[in-house]
Symmetry: C2
Subunit: 367 residues, 2 copies
């Protein structure tokens, strides 16, 4: 199969369409990686380009004071009759590009590719990272592979992920903690309920506490974070005529990045102190990931915010930015497209957002 | 395979052992039914004997004022190295017969068979019903088959089931009602919990109410019934990062036989009136079976109680006695063996209980 040609100097809207038209469902990214690699090798000047699996990496080494990392994944979720791309202009939605990956995240990739090829004199050294397998289990994530196998490629002062944010800078990310609360009791036939000790009956206070909990809203570096404490699963019961001897509730705490995972667990234990000290339930952490401080106070990040006219907001979900944050690199998401349209059959992006993100980044990277 | 010989005039302890030694796991009762049928035909006088599938039925028609039904199932739960029977005498437990069915309920069957063969002049007409498939799903129950296909065999004034009661009369049975309470909400990503409406959080009040509920104890015909209201299952949740939009709790109400199923459901709705009227949950009946009044006020039943020196108690669980109660026939359980040892590998009966039950019934049936 011949390698598709990509014109990096074309309008990033057209470049987005060209990328969408190269199907690249997770674990099937060879063709798009070939196309990106060939375009980078043929159309960039002053960049070192390497290929690693289906990751394609490029960087300058001009001795600038700061290095900016631009990172985007090349894969998409499965295609559902939404490739190739198509463009429509309607009164309701204006000029829109439709197709799998238009939002998540080939429009972001297109902006990065276009700028790398067309910026005359970047003010920063640049590192481009295009990676595979972001949409599937974390163990396959190409950025994780780079972190383990080519760690020196992740040095930088600011990292920008082109994940969809509708053109707004989203900074940092919240942490997540999952705690399993388990109540135990004694089985008995339900016809003789008094012979048993019903585990499910012990959860009333915990659920009432959850319903009454008022999550914190906190400002960090000008970003407002909203925490959340939610039951995400509950399960107990043996049979329709048996007093259950065990039940669990999984509680997910999404916490602002001014708490560590440990502090987050301390907080959860405080919230349920009454149930825990009464011995009604036990608590066990089953999953956790630390948050990422927005890091917008860093000068290189502050310049990015200035280029975006000071518009930014907190990122609530967990994304690959936290990989950079864990390395001490301020990292933001910035890309075209409404994230709520990602992974949908009717995935589509207003083309003006592609232009807008390209303009913000051109300003930032040139100054 | 030859038909095993049973000596009905032998001591019912030995007859129990002989019955235990004929393996008869549910759906494999042909051999034991053959043996019982042959013994009844050869050793009873004045009885009509019929075979219906693996049920064996016999009855007198002497024109007595009352008819007593003696009913027992021939099947057992699966054997686990506990057949053939063995008998031990120890200081701790005395004289004990071990084996699958010693409790549930070949000792009861043996008493009925022995009395039918050895009572010189019963004071009542007798109907004997030995049936199959009691230990498996209700649809296979041999007594249910008789009820549908040979209903005139279930006429009588009192029915005695030989289920294990440790030699005490257990009268009537409680009803059972299962109600599914469902709470609904709106899904959202748990990183943006405020966009959703958590169904699980709505159950705190319901579980608190359940834990605080004080079940009624009520005396009917001298039997004390103890009700119970118990969560027997709870389930909800979509994924570890999703606000759940649905959760249910299954609540089992075991109610005394002075309530109908409808009255029982009315009571459950009253208990959870706050949650129901607030729209936090909906309630749906998923299973029900009416209870059975003890019916000990009936003269033929009162004579049985007198024969047992006035000792009786309420039956809490649901058993086949309620099939008779539904037909308007007072019915009791009376059999040797501790019901808590039924279905166990170490199933065993103190042989004196076999003698005791035989004595009570001999007195009752002769007077």
């Amino acid at each position: 199969m011949s390698i598709p040609a990509l014109d990096l100097s074309a309008d990033p809207i057209d470049l987005t369409a060209a990328l969408v038209d190269i199907a690249s469902v997770s674990r099937d990214e060879t063709t798009i990686a070939d196309a990106v690699e060939r375009a980078l090798r043929e159309q960039l000047t002053g960049f070192e380009v390497i290929r690693h699996g289906n990751c394609v990496l490029a960087r300058t080494d001009r001795g600038k004071a700061t290095r900016v990392i631009l990172a985007g994944h090349l894969d998409t979720v499965p295609i559902v009759d939404n490739v190739p791309s198509r463009r429509t202009v309607t009164d309701e939605e204006g000029d829109v590009l439709h197709g799998c990956g238009t939002v998540d995240m080939k429009s972001g990739d297109a902006v990065f590719l276009h700028l790398a090829a067309t910026l005359d004199e970047p003010a920063h050294d640049l590192t481009l990272i295009f990676y595979d397998c972001e949409e599937i289990a974390a163990e396959f994530n190409g950025l994780g592979t780079i972190e383990r196998e080519l760690p020196d490629w992740l040095h930088g002062d600011v990292a920008i992920l082109g994940e969809p944010t509708a053109g707004l800078i989203e900074a940092g990310c919240q942490g997540t903690l999952r705690v399993r609360f388990t109540a135990t009791g004694t089985r008995a036939h339900s016809a003789r309920a008094w012979m048993g000790d019903n585990a499910i009956h012990k959860l009333g206070g915990l659920l009432t506490t959850l319903a009454a909990y008022r999550p914190r809203r906190v400002d960090i570096d000008g970003c407002e974070y909203r925490e959340g404490l939610s039951a995400v699963g509950i399960r107990g019961g043996v049979a329709g005529n048996v007093i259950p001897d065990e039940v669990y509730v999984d509680v997910n705490f999404r916490f602002a990045p001014d708490r560590s995972v440990e502090q987050a667990f301390d907080h959860v234990r405080e919230v349920f102190a009454a149930e825990l000290s009464a011995g009604l339930v036990t608590a066990e952490v089953t999953d956790s990931a630390s948050g990422a401080l927005p890091g917008l106070a860093h000068p290189a990040a502050a310049a990015l915010v200035a280029a975006a006219d000071g518009k930014f907001r907190a990122k609530y979900g967990w994304t690959d930015v936290s990989r950079f944050s864990a390395l001490g690199i301020p990292a933001v998401n910035l890309g075209p497209g409404d994230p709520s349209l990602a992974h949908r059959v009717d995935e589509r992006v207003p083309v003006e957002q592609i232009t807008q993100v390209a303009d913000i980044l051109r300003t930032y990277l040139s100054s």
